[in-house]
Subunit: 193 residues, 2 copies
Amino acid sequence: MFEFLQKKINETINISDEEFEYAKTLFIPKKLRKKRFLLHDGDPCIYTTFVEKGLLRSFRIDDKGNEHILQFGLQGWWVADLYSFLTGEPSEYNIEALEDSELLLITKPSWDKLLHEVPAFEHYFRILIQNNLIATQRRLMGTMSSTAEERYNKLLQEFPDIAQRVPQHMIASYIGVTRETLSRLRSQLASGS
Amino acid sequence: MFEFLQKKINETINISDEEFEYAKTLFIPKKLRKKRFLLHDGDPCIYTTFVEKGLLRSFRIDDKGNEHILQFGLQGWWVADLYSFLTGEPSEYNIEALEDSELLLITKPSWDKLLHEVPAFEHYFRILIQNNLIATQRRLMGTMSSTAEERYNKLLQEFPDIAQRVPQHMIASYIGVTRETLSRLRSQLASGS
DNA sequence: AAAAGTTCGTGACATAGGTCACGGTCATTT
DNA sequence: AAATGACCGTGACCTATGTCACGAACTTTT
C-alpha cells in the first residue's frame, strides 16, 4: 500500500526507515471507486491525498455551470484544494475518481505534525509545491499565449496516455475550451496531418 | 535597507535576531532605476529578489512578439524566474523595474545555505511558495472561466493602486487581452455605470 | 434485451476579442 | 523649443471559439 509513496519521496529526499515508518502511521489508506467523490464543493478539504494507484481529477464548477479541471491526479501525484486544506474554509473544488483508485489520506493536524517533527518532510513538500508552482505558472502563461491546438498538443506531450484514459470533454475542460471546439480541432488534426 | 524584509518575515515565522543578522549577510542590496532590467530572457536567473521599495514586473515575450506579464512585484514581494533560478537554465522571462526600486538579491548558493542552516527559512519559503501557488491556481481558473471584464475588476480589487502606477497596456497583458480590448472595456465601464 | 445514460461528432449561427490603421495627447530627450 | 517616443482611444473588419440543436454509437444499469 505504501510502495509508491516511499519510492516518490526517496526520489527527492533522503529519509531513514524509522522516519518513514513514523510517517506511515499518519496516513489513512482508502479505496475510492470510479465516479465516487473524495470532496464535494462546499465541504472543507480535510485531507491531502497521495495517489498510490488510479486516477483522480479536481475541478471547479463556475457560475454558468461549466466544469474546469485544475488537475489530473495520476499515480504518484498529490491532490487537494490547498487553500481549503490550509484554512479549513469550504472548498470550491470537487475531487472525483476517474478510475478505481487507491489513496493515502493525511489530515491537516497530522500533516502539521509530520512537517514539524520530520524536517525532511518540510523540505520535501517545499520542493513539491515549488515544482507545482512552476508547472502552474507555465500553464497560466500557456493559456494566455497559445491557441487551443497548442495547449492540446502540450497536454498530450505531458500525459501521453491521458487521451485514452479520460473522456474528451474532460480534456477540453482542462485546456479551457468546450467539447465541441476540441472535437473539431481533433478532426482537423486527423485530416490535416 | 532591510526593514521591510524583516517585517515581512516576522509576519509568517519567528526568527531570532542572530538568525536575521546572519540572513542579512547573504543578501546583496541593489538599486534599480525605472526601465532598467534585472534579468533578460536568455540569461540564467541567478538571483531571487525581494522588493524593499518600488515596483518590478516579470514578463515573457511569445513567438508573435506579444508580452505577457507573469507578476507585478510590489513592495514586500519576491520576484524571480523560479525554474531558471533552481536549474540554472536560461530564463524565458524578463524582469524590469517599473519605478526606481530598492532590491535585496540572493544567489542560489546563498539561498541553499540559508534554507539549510536556518530551518525557519525553509518553513518561511514553503509557506511563501504555497501562497503563491494558491494565487496562481486562482488566476489560472479565472482566465478559463471569467470574461476580460471580470479579470480586470479582480485585478483592481487585488491591487487597488496598480492602475495608477503602470500603463494600461501592461494591465492588459497581465489579464491576457490586447490593449485595444482593455481600452474599450474601460470606456464601457465608465459610461455604463 | 430493453432502457437509460454517456460520449462524441457536426451543422448553423452568435459573439468576444484580435488585428490593423489612424490620430491625438503627454512626457522625455536633445 | 523642437523632436521623438510612449501612451491611449477608436473605427472597420476578421477569426477563434462559444452556443444551441440534433443524431449516432457505445456503456452501464435494470
